[in-house]
Symmetry: C2
Amino acid sequence: MEDKHMLMIPGPTPVPEQVLLAMAKHPIGHRSAQFSEIMAEVTAQLKWLFQTQNDVYCLAASGTGAMEAGLINFINAGDKVLVGDNGKFGERWAIVCETYGMDVERVKAPWGEALDPEVFRTKLEADTAKEIKAVVVTHSETSTGVLNDLETISRYVKAHGALMIVDAVTSLGACNVPTDAWGLDVVASGSQKGFMIPPGLGFVSVSDKAWAAYENAKIPRFYFDLKAAKKNLAKNTTPFTPPVNLIFALQAALGMMQREGLENIFSRHQRLTDATRAAVKALGLKTFAPDGNASTAVTAVDPAPIGAEDIRKAMRTNFDIALAGGQDDYKGKIFRIGHLGFVHDRDVITAIAALEATLQGLGHGDFESGAGVKAAAAVFQNA
Amino acid sequence: MEDKHMLMIPGPTPVPEQVLLAMAKHPIGHRSAQFSEIMAEVTAQLKWLFQTQNDVYCLAASGTGAMEAGLINFINAGDKVLVGDNGKFGERWAIVCETYGMDVERVKAPWGEALDPEVFRTKLEADTAKEIKAVVVTHSETSTGVLNDLETISRYVKAHGALMIVDAVTSLGACNVPTDAWGLDVVASGSQKGFMIPPGLGFVSVSDKAWAAYENAKIPRFYFDLKAAKKNLAKNTTPFTPPVNLIFALQAALGMMQREGLENIFSRHQRLTDATRAAVKALGLKTFAPDGNASTAVTAVDPAPIGAEDIRKAMRTNFDIALAGGQDDYKGKIFRIGHLGFVHDRDVITAIAALEATLQGLGHGDFESGAGVKAAAAVFQNA
């Protein structure tokens, strides 16, 4: 039937009704005093979410655009950069850096495993000539459900002195990203994830240290020139027409998040993650990311020998639940359950119950009936 | 009172209720078959509006982002480009080209006057070595309300062989922009103008000739690399997460436009323009752009000796009508009435009646009472 669709993918994520209605308001002029008041408010809200005193800029762009801006404003062609690459997005940032002529060294781990912080430490400590200008890490690798140990890596980066540039696209709003406490120089994110709003807005925070690097940055850019964003934000405005209605949505969503509180948001995501992983295992399926490095945004599942696409298709057809598939080499091999943003216990119970029924329908009900829901419920009860 | 705001600025423009409601629908996954169907439909609709067989790409960006993409994918650093500069946006494209190291020659006209096509002809004919690689023209110069003679300029450009790159941000959907008939190689626009949807989407069409230039284009770009957009559009998708809800809005708005029909849309905008200009003159104010080159998107008004900002402030305070101010040197000297997109005769009559009352309130009622409305009504009756 129509309009029964349920999103359990790592973006776009479900959007609360009050956010949809805020977005449906008639736009106002972006050069008006009224809009500047809104920009001032969302900027304060974003600083709260990013846990930073740095500016946070809103760009009319996807998370990829925000991340590109976070790279090309602070690194030069020829500069050496270490890029963590253990999934689709880590790989993408390496390609972006190479596109702009940076000297990229990939720090790799297989898909489904976490980056080893000690590899970063070794390379950074060996770099006594300080040739490494930046380290780029994807915090929550959306393609695999792996949460990289950003806290440890950023400590090593800080000791070295390079810029720490972070893809926090699916981690911000889903787990703790204390920008200032961890010394994260550039943090990029996107609206359709933990922010609970539709896609179309990118965010990027910039530290004083990154601004110092900006002064020597020579890669040409105009739309993504963050100095223009900085100058305009000082007047609570933007250099180019912002997506006014998405800013309305952002204001509403960040208001909801502030009322829930950071600690509650993080513990909710942890609880949903633990419940999802426990349930998946109880159904005899393998979680793709290790327990110690599980993203609180998305859980990737390896259902072999059952076909991942068979499960996705049946979940979609029978229950109108959207799950994400695997990417690149893992297409057809894994599926991914998004549980970030406007998601709570009932949604996970729903998805797990549907997954149980789906597995049974596919002739793979070799688990105690109700095992998945029971495992999830046990996590909720003990949380 | 709340929610009585009326937008008469050249963007964001008013958004129809059915478009706001389409935008407020819950997002769906952008990698779904359902979304690909929508992308296929809006692409066909966009080709209809652009009057082209070329692809039209949707970017999560403002019109400036779309225009930057339209420049950096087809021109190299060092390439000679002629850039028409008779207002804020023409000037901006010259700066973008210079930012990327292009060899820019500005073809200037004073603000409020049209570019002289014969200057382009002379320069192009003198360029027997074919050093000029592209000509960049802003069709409707939003800052001044001037409509440049794109048809004539593009004919000279075609005879020369350079690429014709067009800022159609406020002209598309407000007046005739026959991309293929005029041989426009790259046409960029933005959503919050004639498209009747909120800001956040940019559009760019690309001709085969421009794609040939792409093969030699060396300026680094990733997010704005249009080949990625081309490859993905062939599968009815986008390289990066698109603003799904703005695409819903676009589908609804373009459907409305198709039901109205191109000729009706253009004649409506012409009628609104003629009425606005007649009314402004009947009130004793000067139109800033000449009659022969009046944008059908926006009318700039020079109210001297009355203060433009006094008028804007009173219109806002007393009637909650937003007019745009002047930009740069013309800040405080002109005001601008937007009449593009979801605007019809009643809106113009409303704005003119309010302007009459405002002028009287400011002590400048030295016109026959009702003269503005009468002049507008005469245009409507004769249209």
